[in-house]
Amino acid sequence: MNIVVLMKQVPDTYAERKLNPSDNTLDREASDAVINEIDEYAIEEGLRLKEAHGGEVTILTMGPDRATESIRKALSMGADKGVHVVDEALHGSCAITTAKVLAKALGTLEYDVVIAGLEATDSRLSVVPALVAEATGLPQLSGARKVTADGSTLSIERVTETGYDVVTASTPAVLSVVEKINDPRYPSFKGIMAAKSKPVQALSLADLGLAADEVGLAAATTVVDSFEEAPPRSAGTVVKDEGTGGSAIADYLASKKLV
């Protein structure tokens, strides 16, 4: 079973994130970059499927040059190879374009399952996996807290507002996972050494048969006209409970007309 994991490099959420005033896009230089946390769960699930069913795990990323660091980290967890779609012209791509580019890159690979994370911490969209399914015409199995593979049938438990749905599809299909699904492994020393010699293929737009004006800021389906920093939350009041903490909250809520 060959698996492609869609992994995104994102600014560290623990650091301050900024938009770039020159073109209103995310400033990817301003902060440390890490693997989108939930994508580590996608990688782990890919590795587990490989361990159970054989095959290879390929990491597919669209992102700037420095995303290779994150690909190396994924390889050190045990993935077999990396594919890095990298091109200046991709800067500022919207979700729909991102999905189209990822679908093109998937077209160069052989796979049975595509696994993504539920949501990127920078975009907070949770739609790229559904859009990749749309762009490839493959079944969408998103929001999985459990995945089972039986021959060419995939089955997931998809989390819903009231419980979960059991959803099945034939391979190839596009999955996305939530953090309940597993506990990602840490790279071992051996894994880190091995990762250094694993292949990472860089793909440019030309390699994918795409033109510069079909992607990036120029082709974005959504446009940010302006942004402003919200006034910081004014510091609240914190009191120590001396036996009347509960009534103090009730007083506060009453003063705010919340009770």
């Binding site: 559904a130 493959l138 998103s142 309940k180 959504t222 009453a254």
Partner: protein
């Protein structure tokens, strides 16, 4: 006046609160047309309410198949209607499933998807709140009818009579859209409390609550306030409450009028789901807990002392 397509969410024959908010918001952009996609009978059950909230038309796309396949068939219908109606905008409520439907619809009709709007402005431009509320962004689509998901509680719903003329939609779902088959639906959430998505007050418990049984302390506060009950991942992972109650990055994102956090430390993934709440109250025995950085009002103390007293005091005030 151009139509505005509004994807309607209902359950057990009642409109979700979010649907009434969307219909209200739609009026500022054009003529609201409700789009009901579901099993046969879904539209008839909510027809009265749709009229009450100003739907001029109700597109009725009904088939058992919508319950059998995930997301893709609904996106097909919405895109088909958009092609026919030439709407000024397409509005959906910001739930995980609706966002997927909306994005796939935008892809099909060649426009763009504006996620999690907190305000809808002229011509279908939106305001979005990003980076946990630290930055407010003004955005629009580059071309075509904007497909917008609106966050719950962003607009105050107000009734306005509409004609609610029923327009049947012929449903033909492509084979490609039948790839992901729903073979079972399991309900885990129980009870009669408001849902997290709709609630204007939420009381959440975390690891500090300590056990499933102790969660009644959280529920007691919630019930005196008519609130929904939420939880941190620590509490859902421990199995004290169902995962459907998880608030946060991989749970539900909420922005109620009031959020009360009991025994929750305020990890970044939890904050991602609740930090744009209007008023935040926290009870935690650790004065260094990061949740206090967000709290408008915090009490450093034992939740088992503070919460029951709070419930009692609110009870008294309500008389």
């Amino acid at each position: 006046m151009a139509e505005v397509l509004v994807l309607i969410d209902s359950a057990n024959g009642t409109l979700k609160k979010s649907a009434t908010e969307l219909l209200t918001a739609a009026r500022s952009l054009g003529e609201p047309s409700a789009v009901v996609i579901g099993a046969p009978g879904t539209a008839a059950a909510v027809a009265g309410q749709l009229a009450e909230y100003g739907a001029e038309k109700v597109y009725v796309a009904e088939s058992d198949e919508f319950e059998q396949y995930l997301v893709a068939p609904k996106a097909e219908v919405l895109a088909q209607l958009a092609g026919q109606a030439g709407p000024a905008a397409i509005l959906v409520a910001s739930t995980p499933e609706n966002k997927e439907i909306a994005a796939r619809t935008a892809f099909k009709i060649g426009s763009g998807f504006l996620a999690d709007a907190v305000e809808i402005g002229e011509g279908g431009s939106v305001t979005q709140s990003i980076f946990g509320g630290a930055v407010s962004v003004s955005a629009r689509v580059a071309k075509g009818a904007p497909v917008i998901s609106l966050r719950a509680n962003s607009v105050a719903a107000s009734p306005q009579q509409g004609a609610a003329e029923q327009v049947p939609v012929e449903v033909s779902i492509s084979d490609a859209a039948k790839g992901a088959k729903i073979i079972d639906r399991v309900e885990e959430a129980k009870g009669s409390r408001p849902s997290l998505q709709d609630a204007s007050v939420i009381v959440s418990g975390g690891r500090g609550v300590g056990s499933a049984d102790n969660f009644k302390v959280v529920e007691q506060v919630a019930d005196t306030l008519g609130a929904a009950v939420g939880a941190s991942r620590a509490a859902t992972d421990a199995g004290w409450v169902p995962h459907t109650m998880q608030v946060g990055q991989t749970g539900v994102t909420v922005a109620p009028q009031l959020y009360i956090a009991l025994g929750i430390s305020g990890a970044i993934q939890h904050r991602a789901g609740m930090q744009t709440s209007k008023t935040i109250v926290a009870v935690n025995k650790d004065p260094e807990a990061p949740i206090f950085e967000l709290a408008d009002f915090g009490v450093v103390g034992d939740l088992f002392q503070v919460a029951p007293q709070l419930a009692e005091e609110i009870g008294k005030r309500k008389g």
